[in-house]
């Protein structure tokens, strides 16, 4: 049984939990500086959550902005006992899913892998991420939600309004395609070498 990498998506440098508590408190009271600091701190992680689903920079910019505005307006409903990053990321992911449903191009066509991967990323990581990008959106999304954003299979099913069995099947097919793609890449590299 796979256990998703809890917290994997939230490694970016962010305020500590105690910082968060104070910032959230001040933001709730209308302090613009607190809102600004929260927005700056959580923009990257929210953006990456949206980008992982959409693989489209411009769409991710829009989606994340809306998600962040929505999240910061909804701080009164944030459960302070929980960390802020997963909450904001999920709002961004949900908004990205809405965009995916709305935008035919994004929903039907495999994404173009970006050319500006993170500088510190290893080639192996880039290869896997590129293979994920090339998956059909329906498969890519379940994979991204499950492995990158730590959704359980049931949560993926709820987010996509699909039966759990369908999600499990898509995950399985996505993994198979990914494995195949990775093998092709490795064979190609060997051939080139």
């Amino acid at each position: 049984m796979h256990t998703p990498g809890r917290g994997r998506a939230y490694k970016e440098q962010m305020p500590t939990r105690s910082d968060d508590a104070v910032l959230v408190r001040l933001a709730r009271a209308g302090d613009r500086e607190a809102v600004a600091r929260l927005a700056e701190a959580y923009w990257p992680v929210a953006w990456k959550a949206a980008y992982g689903i959409l693989f489209d920079r411009a769409a991710s910019d829009d989606v994340t902005q809306e998600a962040l505005e929505r999240a910061l307006r909804s701080l009164d409903r944030f459960d302070e006992a929980r960390p802020l990053a997963p909450w904001i990321s999920r709002i961004a992911a949900n908004r990205a899913l809405d965009e995916l449903r709305r935008n035919r191009r994004l929903a039907e066509l495999p994404a173009d892998p970006p050319s500006d991967w993170a500088e510190e990323a290893s080639e192996a990581h880039v290869a896997v991420a590129a293979a994920v990008a090339r998956l059909a959106p329906e498969k890519r999304v379940v994979l991204v939600l499950h492995y990158w954003l730590d959704y359980t299979v049931r949560e993926v099913a709820e987010a996509l309004d699909l039966p759990v069995g369908t999600v499990a099947a898509r995950l399985s097919r996505a993994r198979a395609e990914l494995r195949e793609a990775m093998q092709d890449d490795e064979e190609e590299e060997e051939h080139v070498a």
């Binding site: 994997r8 953006w47 990456k48 920079r57 902005q65 409903r77 990581h125 991420a129 494995r179």
Partner: protein
């Protein structure tokens, strides 16, 4: 999938690119309400931010109790005797929530209405009271709080001490919060008392100011009676705000930005702000003109704000060009209105249909008008309210220009 590959899949998150600095900066500004969102979905990459046309949104109005100021948006406090009020003047949209600050003590000069008034709170005397209010038009993408009716009641507020984040730990304040939906707005109130256990007198004093909370939303009927009771004296003593247009027209992330221009019109009681822009995308010419008008009558200013928010989407070989504008304004004595439409230009051919609506409060009932107008291109849209001796009016106009063919 092997465990190794599964781990690589999880770790591949690290390889994802980071957002661009410009997008981050833009988002920060948007979250802070400084700039409107650029919409990626525009094939012509048109985005227009027209804000603060009446000069109210950018500034704040300080109103002593003897001379209450008209809230720039139709939300805020009319100060009770002995109280001071600051308002942000924002338009209370989700992007620009309006904030108001009321205190029965002098507000520290370092404190502003858009943030927690820390300096005032830190020196708040035992009988001091500060009320911070935030207004956001609904829907704002999140569940609305429980419905409330004006006047909101101090007795309904609940204690608010969270995260051990006392504003003044050495001499704790009494902190309370109240969240309600009123007149189409989310109203978030934070009440601060100089003592942790406010006396009945202090609560009554806070209630006296809370009684003068104005919330005039799209559902104008909700506060109709309230306006008739409170707004006229506020209007009569209002000081004409400085006219400070803040208009930007933006074409795409790298396109030109045109600042707004203030041009007094032939009729001296009007001032208008025009924004013009031309862009070429995909071989097609896109042109947009937006106009905001303020109207001044005697010493009282009556802003009308049109906030075009154009968007367009490419649908195969055809284009749909949709231009929406949304305006709100206070009028001193309008009774009736008319819309004139010069120069509302969607150059890429076809017919324009403008759907408009307006609400008018004549003290007895709220009148709504909705209509559609077909225009040839090169028409311009202006909203004008006519003067009659009547009560203050909540005016809302929503125009949509739809073009469906070349």
């Amino acid at each position: 999938m092997s465990p190794d590959l599964e781990r690589r899949l999880q770790d591949a998150w690290e390889a994802l690119p980071l957002p661009s600095a410009s997008a981050t900066s833009r988002a920060r500004d948007a979250v802070l309400g400084r700039r409107r969102r650029f919409r990626r979905a525009l094939p012509f990459a048109l985005a227009l931010a027209l804000a603060s046309a009446g000069g109210l949104a950018a500034g704040r109005s300080l109103a002593p109790a003897a001379g209450p100021a008209l809230p720039s948006a139709a939300v805020g406090f009319v100060p009770a005797a002995g109280w001071t009020v600051l308002q942000t003047g924002n338009d209370a949209t989700p992007q620009h929530p309006a904030r108001a600050l009321a205190a029965n003590v002098p507000i520290h000069p370092d404190d502003e209405p858009h943030r927690l008034p820390l300096r005032t709170l830190q020196s708040l005397p035992r009988d001091g009271i500060v009320i911070v209010a935030r207004f956001t038009a609904l829907p704002d993408g999140s569940p609305a709080p429980a419905a409330g009716q004006l006047p909101l009641r101090v007795a309904d507020a609940r204690p608010e001490i969270q995260f051990s984040a006392e504003v003044r730990p050495q001499r704790p304040l009494g902190q309370f919060q109240l969240h309600r939906t009123v007149g189409g707005y989310r109203v978030d109130l934070h009440l601060y008392f100089g003592s942790r256990q406010p006396s009945a007198g202090a609560r009554a004093e806070a209630q006296r100011q809370l009684d003068r909370l104005l919330v005039a939303g799209p559902a104008a009927g909700v506060r109709e009676r309230r306006l008739a009771a409170v707004a006229p004296p506020a209007v009569q003593s209002a000081v004409c705000p400085r006219y400070a247009p803040n208009v930007k027209l933006t074409f795409g992330p790298t396109g030109p930005v045109y600042p707004g221009q203030e041009r007094p019109t032939a009729r001296s009681r009007f001032a208008s702000v025009h924004t013009d822009g031309v862009t070429r995308r995909g071989g097609h010419l896109a042109y947009l003109r937006a106009t905001a008008v303020t109207r001044e009558i005697d010493a009282v200013c009556t802003p009308v704000r049109l906030r075009p928010n154009p968007s367009a989407a490419r649908l195969g070989p055809r284009y749909v060009h949709r231009l929406t504008s949304d305006g709100v304004g206070w009028f001193v004595a309008p009774d009736g209105f008319r819309l004139i439409h010069p120069n509302y230009n969607c150059v890429v051919g076809g017919r324009i249909v403008v759907h408009s609506s307006a609400l008018r409060d004549d003290r007895r009932r709220v009148v709504g008008n909705r209509f559609s107008v077909r225009l040839e291109r090169t028409n311009e849209l202006l909203a004008v309210a006519e003067l009659r001796p009547a009560g203050p009016t909540w005016f809302r106009v929503s125009n949509r220009c739809t073009q469906t063919r070349y």
